[in-house]
Symmetry: C2
Subunit: 246 residues, 2 copies
């Protein structure tokens, strides 16, 4: 039987999601817990996609195959008791055999949080990017309008990205001010390597007047990573939700 799980993790102490030899990763911790639960039988998980070192997840999704007969709502408790405290399974459900956590993704939501307090909030240091500079939200919102829709995002992904087709669609970008935080909320059909972090870096440079929102069309057209802004740090980024049909 196939189980679909929603998992949240604090990315601070991980070398990202994907298994790497001799590194602590989210995937390896979950596979180890599942293997224990299956009395040594090796279980492999398939996630909606990777996340990088120090990037968090509120609603990452993965699936795996199992012969264990555990009720849906007991899976989180069974797994959480075997997982380290920085990974928490939020829910689980049996799904049809055809379901695939990566290939069936319809859209994804990422959030990026910056904190604008002058002096760093000690409790947010691993969960927001501390950015105490004045930014003009109106220019940022104008830039967001130009980023929306279907584009070749070559200029907004890490130069070493191996994927060939770099056309993606951004359905919505929201910029929400909450006290001293600014939350950037992106929903799209897919995201390239470092894409959200480069989009935010570019928006912040526009907010500071280093770049203009009017530069966006030329950045797209240039198909060159060097035209966009800096990549902001991973610890402000959250894989918030993965959407599937049904």
């Amino acid at each position: 039987m196939k189980v679909k799980c929603t998992v949240s993790y604090d990315g601070s102490q991980f070398y990202g999601y994907q298994v790497q030899p001799n590194k602590r990763t989210v995937q390896s911790e979950i596979e180890e817990a599942l293997t224990k639960l299956h009395k040594g039988e090796k279980i492999k998980i398939f996630a909606s996609g990777r996340t990088d070192a120090s990037v968090h997840a509120v609603g990452q999704v993965f699936h795996f195959e199992t012969n264990l007969r555990i009720p849906d709502d007991r899976w989180p408790f069974a797994l959480n008791s075997l997982l380290p405290e920085d990974i928490v399974i939020k829910s689980a459900a049996y799904v049809e055999h055809e379901f695939h956590a990566r290939f069936d993704v319809v859209k994804k939501e990422y959030r990026y949080i910056i904190n604008q307090e002058k002096i760093q909030d000690v409790f947010k240091r691993k969960y927001c990017f501390h950015y105490p500079y004045e930014i003009d939200l109106q220019s940022i919102e104008k830039a967001c309008d130009l980023l929306l829709g279907t584009h070749d995002f070559t200029s907004f992904c890490a130069a070493k990205t191996e994927v060939e087709d770099k056309v993606r669609t951004l359905y919505s970008i929201e910029v929400i001010k909450e006290e001293n935080d600014i939350i950037f909320r992106f929903i799209g059909n897919g995201f390239l390597y470092n894409m959200v972090r480069i989009l935010v870096g570019t928006l912040l440079e526009i907010g500071q007047g280093i770049k203009s929102f009017e530069d966006i069309p030329a950045i797209f057209k240039g198909l060159d990573r060097r035209l966009s802004g800096k990549t902001v740090p991973g610890h402000g980024l959250y894989l918030w939700k993965v959407y599937y049909d049904n």
Copy 2:
């Protein structure tokens, strides 16, 4: 000259506030940073009081003597650049020579946060006490009314407390529900060892019906730690603010 500093710290990685041989403590980290800044001259700090292992501070206050002439508003930056990332100096001010961070305290505010989500929120695991049990807030509020005012708090402090006078005054207790969190906010003229954690433990037992709010007078009267509730964990506790005259 005498400097008064307000400091916040994430208690997770400390063996409490006070210096202990071979342990990482808040006091020793701050004194080390100050000593560096004073080119090796040993600087001692005096705080409003101690906090225990894993207890956080939003607004702990301490003072120290210095011969350095740094403007008030530059002290936080000078010190923060030398401090580890889990201690942040929020503000500093020159004060009169008579000021003492401990002896001049007029009142203190502590907060204790519990999280009631069924499944732990991974981002709150070090910053709230996970308590997913149903509790009756009305009984808790009735108990709070009986705790207010001036009492001998012997039954509400750790048995090993050495202080002789255990009479303290609680000016206010607020119980605030915020989404899935419940925040207990205590303001008093002073707090005994483990007092807030035992008060919250007792209130939670009242909320669950293990004890009744009507037991409070007898618990006070008994002058016996065994009459009150369990001590809740340190990681839900925050020294929120220290009040002085002026």
